[in-house]
C-alpha cells in the first residue's frame, strides 16, 4: 500500500512521459489523515497562540476604529474632494483581488485537471472567504451611514417606496461580491463535509463529536453520495469559474464605465482579473510558506506546489505588465489629451513613487521566477510574494487616487493624505483576516484529505499499472 518515495525527492523535475508525485514520503491513506488531523487535534503551539493574540488585538483595533468612524463621521478618513474614494476603496479592491486565488485554485484548476491543487485548495478557499469578508467591510462603512447599507438590497421599502438603481455599477458590485461570497462559502463548506466527517469519526470528546457530527450532516461515504457529490462539485466549479471572472470584471466596471481619465479603458476587465489572480496567489504563498512549516505539512504541500504557484504568479504578473504597457500605448495612440495626461501624471506626477513601486513590485519582481532556484527556495518566494502583495496594493492606490486627484478640472485638483484611521483600518483588516485564518487552522481540516487520498490512489494506480490497461 505505501509508496516508497524518498522524502528528499525533488518532485519539481518532471520527465516527459512521467508524472512527478504530488504526495511525498512513506505515505498511505492513514498517514494523510494523521498528518492533517494532528494540526487541529494537538495542543496549539506557542507561535499559533502569539499569532492569534496579535491578530485578535488588531481585529479589536479595527472594531474600535469602525465605531469611532460611525460615531464621528467619514471625515476621520483622509477622503477629501475630489478623492472621495480614497483608502477604503483601495482596500476593498485589494482584498477582493486576494479573494480570487481560492476559487481559481478550486474551480479553474479543477476544470483544467491540475491535480496539484488538491493539497492547497482548502486553505486557499478559506482565504477567499476571509478576504471577501475583509473586502465587504470597506464599502459597507464607506457608504457613510453604515446602518442603512441594507437600502442597497431590492426589498419593498415601506418608507422609501422606491428601488435600488440597477444601472449603477456600484449596485452590480453589491450583487457580485455577495454572490461570490455566498458561492465560495457553499463551495468551501461542501468540499469540507467529507473531511469534517473524518474529524467526527476521530473525535474522542462527545461535544466535539456532536459539533462535527452536525457540520458533516451525517456523511457516510456512500458511493452514491460520492457520485452526486462529485457531480455537484464539478458543477459548482463550472459555475464558480465564470463567477470569479465576473466579480473582478464588475469591480473593474466601477471604474471603467465612468469617464474619469485613466479609468475609462476597455482592457480593465481582463486586466483586473489577471491582477486579482496574481495578488491572490501571492497571498496564498505568503501564508502557505510559514504555515506548511509550522503545521508540519511539507509532505503534502511540496516544493512542486510552490513551484507551480510561482509559475502562475510569473504568468499573471507578465499579463499585468502587458496590460500596463497597452494602456500606456493606447493613451498615446488614442490622442485624447485628458487620457494622455492621466498616464503621464501617473508615472511622473506627484504620485510617481506609487506608480514606480507598483511597476517594480508587480512587473519586475515576479520576473525573478524565471530562475528555477528562486521558484524552489521557500524564503525567496516568501520575500518576492510580499513584494507582489505590496505592489498590488499600490496598483489599486495608483488607479483610485491618481486618477481622482487630477481629472478634468485643474482648479479641483488635490493631493491625498491618509489619516491614522486609514492606516489603522488597513492594518486592522489584516487582523480580521489572520484571526479567521488562524481559527480555521485550528478548527477545520486545512487540507482536503479526501481529494489528496484520491490523488494518492491515482499515484498508486499509475505505479502498479502504468497508463492503459489494468
Amino acid at each position: 500500500m505505501s509508496l516508497a518515495i524518498p522524502n528528499g525527492l525533488d518532485n519539481t523535475v518532471e520527465r516527459p512521459g512521467e508524472r512527478a508525485p504530488l504526495v511525498l514520503g512513506e505515505t498511505d491513506y492513514h498517514e494523510i489523515t494523521e498528518t492533517v488531523c494532528q494540526v487541529a487535534e494537538r495542543k496549539p503551539s506557542t507561535s499559533w497562540v502569539i499569532g492569534f493574540l496579535v491578530s485578535f488585538a488588531l481585529l479589536q483595533w479595527l472594531g474600535i476604529c469602525i465605531l469611532y468612524l460611525i460615531y464621528t463621521g467619514v471625515g476621520v478618513w483622509g477622503n477629501r474632494s475630489p478623492i472621495f474614494w480614497g483608502w477604503p476603496i483601495v482596500n476593498f479592491v485589494f482584498w477582493v483581488g486576494i479573494g480570487h486565488a481560492g476559487t481559481l485554485i478550486s474551480a479553474i484548476l479543477f476544470l483544467f485537471r491540475q491535480e496539484w491543487r488538491t493539497s492547497i485548495n482548502r486553505a486557499a478557499e478559506a482565504m477567499t472567504i476571509f478576504a471577501v469578508a475583509c473586502a465587504g467591510t470597506f464599502p459597507g462603512i464607506h457608504v457613510g451611514r453604515a446602518w442603512l447599507a441594507f437600502w442597497l438590497a431590492p426589498y419593498p421599502s415601506l418608507n422609501l417606496w422606491m428601488w435600488p438603481q440597477f444601472r449603477s455599477p456600484l449596485l452590480w458590485d453589491v450583487f457580485a461580491v455577495s454572490t461570490y461570497g455566498t458561492v465560495s462559502l457553499l463551495f468551501w463548506y461542501m468540499g469540507m463535509v467529507p473531511d469534517l466527517a473524518t474529524f467526527r469519526d476521530r473525535s474522542k470528546n462527545k461535544w466535539r463529536r456532536m459539533a462535527y457530527g452536525i457540520l458533516s450532516l451525517g456523511w457516510s461515504g456512500s458511493s452514491r453520495h460520492w457520485m452526486r457529490y462529485e457531480k455537484a462539485y464539478a458543477l459548482l466549479a463550472a459555475l464558480a469559474a465564470p463567477l470569479v471572472l465576473s466579480v473582478n470584471t464588475i469591480v473593474s466596471f466601477d471604474f471603467a464605465v465612468s469617464q474619469v481619465p485613466g479609468w475609462h479603458t476597455t482592457i480593465f476587465p481582463p486586466y483586473f482579473v489577471a491582477g486579482a489572480i496574481f495578488s491572490g496567489f501571492a497571498m496564498v504563498l505568503t501564508l502557505m510558506i510559514p504555515s506548511r512549516k509550522m503545521l508540519g505539512l511539507e509532505k503534502l504541500i511540496t516544493i512542486r506546489h510552490l513551484d507551480n504557484m510561482c509559475k502562475i504568479i510569473l504568468a499573471t504578473g507578465s499579463m499585468v505588465g502587458l496590460a500596463y504597457g497597452t494602456e500606456f500605448f493606447i493613451a498615446w495612440y488614442g490622442q485624447v489629451q485628458e487620457e494622455k495626461f492621466a498616464f503621464i501624471n501617473r508615472a511622473f506626477g506627484p504620485y510617481w513613487w506609487a506608480y514606480w513601486t507598483m511597476v517594480t513590485c508587480n512587473v519586475i519582481s515576479p520576473q525573478l521566477f524565471w530562475v528555477k532556484k528562486f521558484r524552489t527556495t521557500p524564503w525567496i518566494i516568501f520575500i518576492i510574494t510580499i513584494f507582489v502583495n505590496i505592489g498590488m496594493w499600490f496598483e489599486r492606490f495608483v488607479i483610485v487616487v491618481t486618477s481622482l486627484s487630477r481629472d478634468y478640472v485643474p482648479s479641483a485638483w488635490a493631493y491625498f493624505s491618509p489619516t491614522w484611521v486609514d492606516w489603522s483600518m488597513l492594518i486592522g483588516s489584516f487582523g480580521l483576516f489572520m484571526t479567521l485564518f488562524l481559527l480555521f487552522c485550528r478548527l477545520m481540516p486545512v487540507i482536503n484529505m479526501a481529494e489528496t487520498k484520491s490523488t494518492l490512489a491515482k499515484q498508486i494506480h499509475l505505479e502498479e499499472h502504468g497508463y492503459g490497461n489494468h
Partner: protein
C-alpha cells in the same frame, strides 16, 4: 481503473499516422482553385470599390490568420502546462501553425495596397483624411508617427518574423522527435514555451491594433487585441476538431483520437465561446456606458442598417445558441455533433470578423456582388491554406508519434 480498453501505441510507420491518399491528392487542386476563387472574389469586390475589394481580402486573410495564430498558441500552451491529453491532436495544430509563412506571402497584397494606394485600404494613409474629417492637425501629426507606411511595414515584418520563428522552431522540434523519440526534445519545447508565449502575445496584440483596429484611425480600445485573440483561439479549437474528425472519417487516427479528446476540445470550444462573449460584451458595455464620442462612433456605425442586424446575429448565434448547444456533456462526447458546432462556430467567427472589418469599407455591404466577393475571398483563402496544410501533412506524420506523453494521451479519460 479504466473501464474501456486503451489502444496500444502503434509503431511510427503505421498507416494510421499517414495522411489518407484521398486527401493528399487534393492538395494541388485546392491550392490552384483557391487562388482562382480568391482572385475572382477580389475582382468582384473591386468592382464595388477598390476599398471594398481589399477589405474583403483582409477579412479573409484575418480569418485564416486567426486560425493559424490560435493553433500556434494551442501548441505553445500545451507545452507550457505539459498537457498530456492533447498529444494526439497536437500535430494537427502544428500543421496549421506553419501556415503563418504562406500567410506572410498572402499579406503582401495588403502591404502593396498600403504602399501604392492612397488610403485604398487604410484610411489613415489617405493624405486628405484629416482635412475631410476636421481633425486637429496637432493630433493627426502625432497619430501619423505610429500610423505611417514605413513604420507599419517594419512592424508587420517584425510580427511575421516572431510568429514564423516560433512556428518553424516548434514544428522542426516536433518532427525531429518523430524520428528520434528523444525526451530532451520535449524538455526543450517546454523550456522555451514561456518566453515564446510572451513574445507571441505582444506581437498578436499589436498586430490586431495595426491591421484591424487602425482601419478606423481615430478609434481605440485597449481590449481589442484580447478580442481578436479570443476569437482566434476559439477558431483554432474548432479547426482542430473538424480536421481530426475528417481524418478519422477517412481512416487515419481511428483508434488514437477518442471520444475523450472530443470531449476536451468541446470543453475548450464551450469555454472560448464564453470567453469571446465575455470580452465582446465588456468592450461593448464600457463604450456604451461611457458614451464618449471618440469611442462610440465605431459601435454606432456598426448599429446602422444591415450592420445592426449582423450585430444581433452575433449576439444570438455567436453566443447564445452555441453556448446552449455545447453546454451539455452529451453533445461534447458526440464527435459528429461537436464537429457540427465547430463548423458552425467557424462560420460565426467569419461573421464576427466581417462585422469588425467591413463597415470601414463603406456603409453598405456592396449588394449581391459584395456578398459574393466576401464569400469567394474567404473560401479561396481557406482553400489555399488547407491545400498547403495537406501538402505539409503529406510529407510528415499527422500525429506526434513518438511523443513521450503519447501513451498518457491515449489512455486519457475525463472524470
Amino acid at each position: 481503473m479504466s473501464e474501456h480498453d486503451t489502444p496500444a501505441v502503434k509503431i511510427a510507420d503505421d498507416p494510421a499516422f499517414k495522411l489518407p491518399t484521398s486527401l493528399s491528392s487534393l492538395s494541388m487542386p485546392l491550392c490552384i482553385g483557391g487562388v482562382a476563387v480568391l482572385l475572382i472574389g477580389w475582382a468582384c469586390g473591386s468592382s464595388v470599390s477598390a476599398k471594398f475589394g481589399m477589405s474583403a481580402y483582409l477579412t479573409a486573410f484575418m480569418f485564416c490568420l486567426t486560425i493559424v495564430l490560435g493553433s500556434l498558441f494551442f501548441v505553445m500552451i500545451q507545452h507550457l502546462v505539459r498537457a498530456g491529453w492533447s498529444v494526439v491532436v497536437r500535430r494537427i495544430a502544428e500543421l496549421y501553425m506553419v501556415m503563418v509563412i504562406p500567410l506572410g506571402v498572402l499579406f503582401l497584397p495588403v502591404l502593396a495596397t498600403l504602399l501604392f494606394g492612397n488610403g485604398t485600404l487604410y484610411n489613415w494613409d489617405d493624405p486628405t483624411y484629416a482635412e475631410k474629417n476636421f481633425l486637429p492637425l496637432a493630433i493627426w501629426t502625432e497619430k501619423l508617427r505610429w500610423l505611417n507606411q514605413g513604420w507599419f511595414t517594419v512592424r508587420a515584418i517584425f510580427y511575421f518574423a516572431i510568429w514564423s520563428a516560433l512556428a518553424i522552431w516548434y514544428f522542426r522540434q516536433s518532427v525531429e522527435q518523430d524520428e528520434t523519440g528523444e525526451k530532451a526534445v520535449s524538455d526543450r519545447m517546454q523550456y522555451w514555451s514561456g518566453p515564446a508565449i510572451m513574445a507571441f502575445c505582444g506581437a498578436t496584440s499589436f498586430a490586431a491594433f495595426d491591421w484591424v483596429m487602425s482601419l478606423a484611425p481615430m478609434w481605440f480600445s485597449t481590449m481589442f487585441g484580447v478580442y481578436v485573440f479570443a476569437g482566434s483561439v476559439l477558431a483554432a479549437h474548432c479547426t482542430i476538431c473538424i480536421t481530426s474528425f475528417t481524418l478519422q472519417r477517412l481512416g487515419a487516427l481511428r483508434d488514437e483520437v477518442t471520444v475523450e479528446h472530443y470531449h476536451d476540445l468541446g470543453k475548450f470550444i464551450f469555454g472560448f465561446v464564453f470567453f469571446w462573449s465575455y470580452i465582446a460584451f465588456s468592450q461593448y458595455m464600457l463604450i456604451w456606458y461611457g458614451n464618449i464620442p471618440e469611442e462610440t462612433h465605431w459601435i454606432f456605425e456598426r448599429q446602422l442598417g444591415a450592420w445592426g442586424w449582423i450585430g444581433i446575429v452575433l449576439i444570438l448565434f455567436h453566443w447564445a445558441l452555441p453556448f446552449l448547444g455545447t453546454m451539455s456533456r452529451h453533445v461534447r462526447r458526440n464527435a459528429p455533433l461537436i464537429t457540427f458546432w465547430a463548423v458552425y462556430l467557424l462560420i460565426m467567427h467569419y461573421v464576427d470578423l466581417y462585422w469588425v472589418i467591413m463597415p470601414e469599407a463603406g456603409s453598405s455591404m456592396g449588394g449581391i456582388l459584395g456578398v459574393i466577393s466576401s464569400l469567394f475571398c474567404v473560401v479561396g483563402m481557406t482553400a489555399v491554406m488547407i491545400g498547403l496544410v495537406l501538402r505539409v501533412a503529406d510529407q510528415t506524420k499527422i500525429a506526434a508519434v513518438r511523443d513521450p506523453r503519447l501513451q498518457e494521451s491515449l489512455a486519457f479519460e475525463n472524470i
